[in-house]
Amino acid sequence: MVTKEKSADTKARAPSVEVVPPGDPRDRGGPAQPMFMVRDLKKHFPVRGGALNRTVAKVLAVDGVSFEVVKGETLGIVGESGCGKSTLARLLMHLIDITDGELIFDGEEVGVRNGIAMRDFRKAAQMVFQDSYSSLNPRLPVEDSIAYGPRVHGMSKKEAKNLARELLGKVGLRPEVFGPRYPHELSGGQKQRVNIARALAMSPRLVILDEAVSALDKSVEAQVLNLLRHLKRHFNLTYVFISHDLNVVQYISDRVLVMYLGEVVEIGPVDEIYAKPKHPYTRALLKSRLSMDPDERMDEAPITGDPPNPINPPSGCRFHTRCQFAETLCKTVAPKLPEGARPSDHVTACHMYNQTAGHSLFGKVPPAFETPVAEPASSARVAAKA
């Protein structure tokens, strides 16, 4: 199945989005078929209230999201709290019912009668959760938590346990030491490694990481990120990496999707988005990153205000309330992502980039950064010192 990889220093992981993993027997649709296609996905949560417990409003948690996940890539999803990225993760995993839209896994639709069987989908797609406290059953030794999935799918007790121990080794935990331990004995980073092992136990092809490193301390975060990169190659995985941390997303992703209030505002290859962000929201997000240089202090916030409440999102473009380029057009007409864009294209849902929309700044949008993007951190200098 999985061939043992040669060494860690194989340089050639070209960050190209057209990369297709070499022959995987589980592959059905062929290299050109996206691993996951999401079409016009919607999730509306009713807000109940009043004496009769009627639906008085709807939270548009995810509202018409479409994108593709190419085989073998890491798609980063960024956005602030309330933008619907965690709901999106659960929708992708089919853990909550979708209100509307289609999910197509390797050519087969998920959650319909003649689509992919739920049992097969549950093996092929796995999820790693954020909160390391509640993500493991406190009453089970961690190896039993890992072995649970394979047991459900009919593996014998002994086999499942062996697999669990093998995976513990793969995620950097000595199996004989950590296997029989209970979660309360492990540190946050160690628990997160167990979570990863549990997802891998199903030999998935797609792993959805929902803020998987956000709760960890920085030094541990780096360890887990390195581990995730190695595992991806080792097990031939495709990642959907959801995070609010722009630096982490930049490091781990091949392509990035930016969400704002339940909608996709921009999607494209990571380097293009980080160097030349188009959407004013993406620009503000990137400018809000804190520099580690005390001489680069900001005196003016890139944008003011908080993200609005998703219960009653603003009309037209949902970002117009905070956008410095907003015009009357933006308040009334909702911009859309251009149709027919390929995964390697850098596209945005903003009137300023749509010739037919009629925004006065079309073709005249000032660049996001006056100076080129900051050099890769002071880490090199620090390392040299040490």
Binding site: A8, K11, R13, P15, E80, S81, S187, G188, G189, D217, K218, S219, V220, E221, A222, Q223, L225, N226, R229, H244, L246, N247, V248, Q250, Y251, I252, A284, L285, S288, R289, L290, S291, M292, D293, P294, D295, E296, R297, M298, D299, E300, A301, P302, I303, T304, G305, D306, P307, N309, V373, A374, E375, P376, A377, S378, S379, V382, A383, K385, A386
Partner: protein, 335 residues
């Protein structure tokens, strides 16, 4: 101010949490000083004792905590204060802002009432006067349409506005010392920078001392004058923010900087610090960082490194540094 110019002075602080099963030495000999109008950022990972050290300044610790050492605020010994003196000090001379304002604000009162109540309690003014001050304060922390927000309940505000309301409440009595416990960690990136800039401006305007606890080096770089790095209950390195972040001396600080994801090359591993922090329930011998340090020697594993001062206003606890600068130097604290 009194004869000594320090807003806060902590000398050899020790905090132990004692329970039936174990004793956790959360803070182990921490010393620092804070001058008027100075911003000290305490950086550390979870469990490093940074929050506990700060809370000791207000004696806001559970009863099972045993505090030792000296803690002075405005020249007064906090550890010897009576309950009444403590209450008077809290909120008036020293106030605190938290990571999650929802837990610090009372959900059943309006924001205006809560701020007014604090002003009334400490300054003995009328309710009317208190509400007037509350409005001023909300405008002071740049809450848009402050008049309307005065009558809002905490749950009706967004995260950023709640944090501003809490800052307004904390500043209502013009404290000389503000303790901030990761106040921007739970905020979104675009809101975090707004609150940081606001805090910096308010601090300058009011000239108060601030102790800002965070795990994020970027936040410290934005706000701090000096930085103390904590590891396993000790300050391992302290110095002016520029020197410390540009030229870190302790291997832990260096490791923290290197492992913070910050535009590294995507095709190489990040330089992570291996292993995890020690369990504070166990006795630690030698340098607490030695098991994770790539430079560790036999000396590090057996003897705790003394504090040395390798430069103006700097202090490090590392055998490597003391070896380089000469251990005999053994300078006292930083002026």
């Amino acid at each position: 101010m009194t004869d000594n110019a320090y807003v806060a002075r902590v000398e050899n602080l020790e905090v132990k949490f004692v329970s039936r099963e174990s004793t956790t030495k959360a803070v182990n000999g921490v010393s620092f000083t804070l001058k008027e109008g100075e911003v000290l950022s305490i950086i550390g990972e979870s469990g490093s004792g940074k929050s506990v050290s700060m809370r000791a300044l207000m004696r806001l610790l559970p009863s099972k905590a045993k505090i030792g050492g000296e803690v002075e605020v405005n020249g007064k010994d906090v550890l010897k204060m009576s309950g009444r003196e403590l209450t008077r000090m809290r909120g008036k001379e020293v106030s605190m802002i938290f990571q999650e304002p929802m837990t610090a604000l009372d959900p059943v009162y309006t924001v205006g009432d809560q701020i007014a109540e604090t002003v009334m309690r400490h300054e003995g003014v009328s309710k009317e006067e208190g509400l007037k001050r509350a409005l001023e304060l909300l405008e002071f922390v740049r809450v848009p349409s402050a008049e309307r927000r005065l009558k809002a309940y905490p749950f009706e505000l967004s995260g950023g506005l709640r944090q501003r309301a809490m800052i307004a409440m904390a500043l209502s009595c013009r404290p000389s010392l503000l303790l901030a416990d990761e106040p921007t960690t739970a905020l979104d990136a675009t809101v975090q920078i707004q609150v940081l800039i606001l805090l910096r401006k308010l601090q300058k305007e009011m000239g108060m001392g601030v102790i800002f606890v965070t795990h994020d080096l970027g936040v410290a770089a934005q706000i701090a004058d000096k930085v103390a790095v904590m590891y396993a209950g000790r300050i391992v390195e302290m110095g002016p923010v520029r020197d410390l972040l540009r030229n870190p001396l302790h291997p832990y600080t260096q490791g923290m900087l290197a492992s913070t994801v910050h535009g590294q090359d995507r095709n190489t591993d990040i330089e992570a610090i291996p292993g995890s922090p020690p369990d504070m329930r166990n006795e630690i011998r030698g340098c607490a960082f030695a098991p994770r340090c790539k430079h560790a020697t036999e000396l590090c594993r057996t003897t705790e490194p003394p504090e040395t001062s390798p430069g103006e206003g700097r202090a490090v606890r590392c055998h490597l540094v003391s070896g380089m600068t000469g251990a005999e130097q053994d300078a006292p604290a930083y002026a």
